[in-house]
Amino acid sequence: MHDLSDDDTETMTARVRALETVLVEKGLVEPAAIDEIIATYSERVGPKLGAGVVARAWSEPDFASRLAADATAAVAEMGISGRQGEHLNAVFNTGMRHNLVVCTLCSCYPWSVLGLPPTWYKSPPYRARAVRDPRGVLAEFGLSVAPETEIRVWDSTAELRYLVIPERPEGTEGWSAEALAACVSRDAMIGTGLAVRP
């Protein structure tokens, strides 16, 4: 579904360029602002930020408590804020419950801590099945959750954004924040993965 034929790519390239030309000539959009928006989400805002939050939560019980109580305020301590993260909630995996995040109605995603969502997150197969058959979806990510573990799916229907705090991998006692963060993939913070030692 997401493959564009070359024809489509050519057409879309021309159409998008035409619109940008008009917007710029009318003084409605500054090209450098577009560049800056792209650079923000390509280079600066991405899952590394979220991984840092998770690593700190694993290392500092007080921070984990603040994160659980008010994630927006807790990540702000680390200088993290912004668009699509204005009302952040952290949901913690335990042996009893695995959390999974979806937006069935569009593509809501915690940009401030994870950057832009991957294509599959925005696409019909995931959005349709995550709320009905999450174990089937997780199996496609190579993830098998024990039958006795509850799966809680968070459908992002409002402006609250959900960040999954995965369980800390065993054997990481005493690891530095950087080393811990390297265990935390983007998928682990969506719930389609687990944190693992690299």
Binding site: A32, I38, L105, P124, R132, E140, T157
Partner: protein, 219 residues
């Protein structure tokens, strides 16, 4: 609206097929669409809710087969035309026919960082007290509005439990259609998978949705 965007529980789309080597963008036009969409929103002609409604109002077969940034692009064209900034013929020809309406609100590159960092919080103050408390049994209203709503079809008519009383938030059903922010209390409501999908469902599944007060009734 019961549009193509309301995908929860729909079937037939095949596997999720995550690509571990996937890049954020698949063609150079995609990031330009992202940037234009974010920048054009700063003109202040439309709300985030109106832009979501423009996307879900695209032809269903197209919504389901287009790459996501194509959906954004087509919706951006709709919004720019609706608010008198770019006509379809201007967009098609790349020729300006009329001056822009709000160049004074153009998002300058120097302001991007602060605008993105500030975001657009939707929490509001409200004098009215909340109607429901954590632990309350509630039923999601069985409603089928033709306009924008954020109550997915798969929970309508089903019974859940209030997990958290959040805060008053801007109401998308009004805000998407020029009805103002009309803030209402927002709740997180948890439904069992069996309540949503039937008795055969995995008993270890629960689904949380965030629901405005008007989406709920006592059960």
């Amino acid at each position: 609206m019961n549009g193509p965007q309301d995908l929860g529980g729909q079937m037939g789309f095949g596997p999720v097929a995550p690509d571990p080597d996937e890049t954020l963008f698949h063609a150079p036009w995609e990031p330009r669409v992202l940037g234009m969409t974010v920048a054009a929103a700063s003109l202040g002609h439309w709300t985030l809710d109106e832009s979501r409604h423009a996307r879900e109002s695209l032809p269903p077969a197209d919504y389901l087969r287009w790459p996501y940034y194509r959906i954004w692009f087509e919706a951006l064209l709709v919004l720019l035309a609706r608010h008198g900034e770019v006509s379809p013929s201007e967009a098609a020809s790349a020729q300006v026919e009329r001056p822009g309406r709000r160049p004074g609100r153009r998002l300058e590159a120097s302001r991007v960082a602060s605008v993105l960092a500030r975001g657009g919080p939707t929490e509001r103050s409200l004098d009215a007290p909340e109607r429901f408390a954590a632990g309350d049994r509630v039923r999601a209203v069985n409603m089928h509005p033709e306009g924008h709503t954020r109550l997915p079809r798969y929970v309508r008519g089903r019974i859940g439990r209030v997990e958290a009383v959040r805060a008053p938030h801007v109401l998308p059903d009004a805000n998407a259609h020029g009805g103002g922010e009309a803030p209402e209390w927002l709740y997180t409501v948890v439904f069992s998978g069996q309540e949503l999908w039937g008795a055969e469902t995995d008993p270890g599944l629960s689904v949380a949705v965030d629901a405005w007060e008007r989406y709920l009734e006592p059960a």
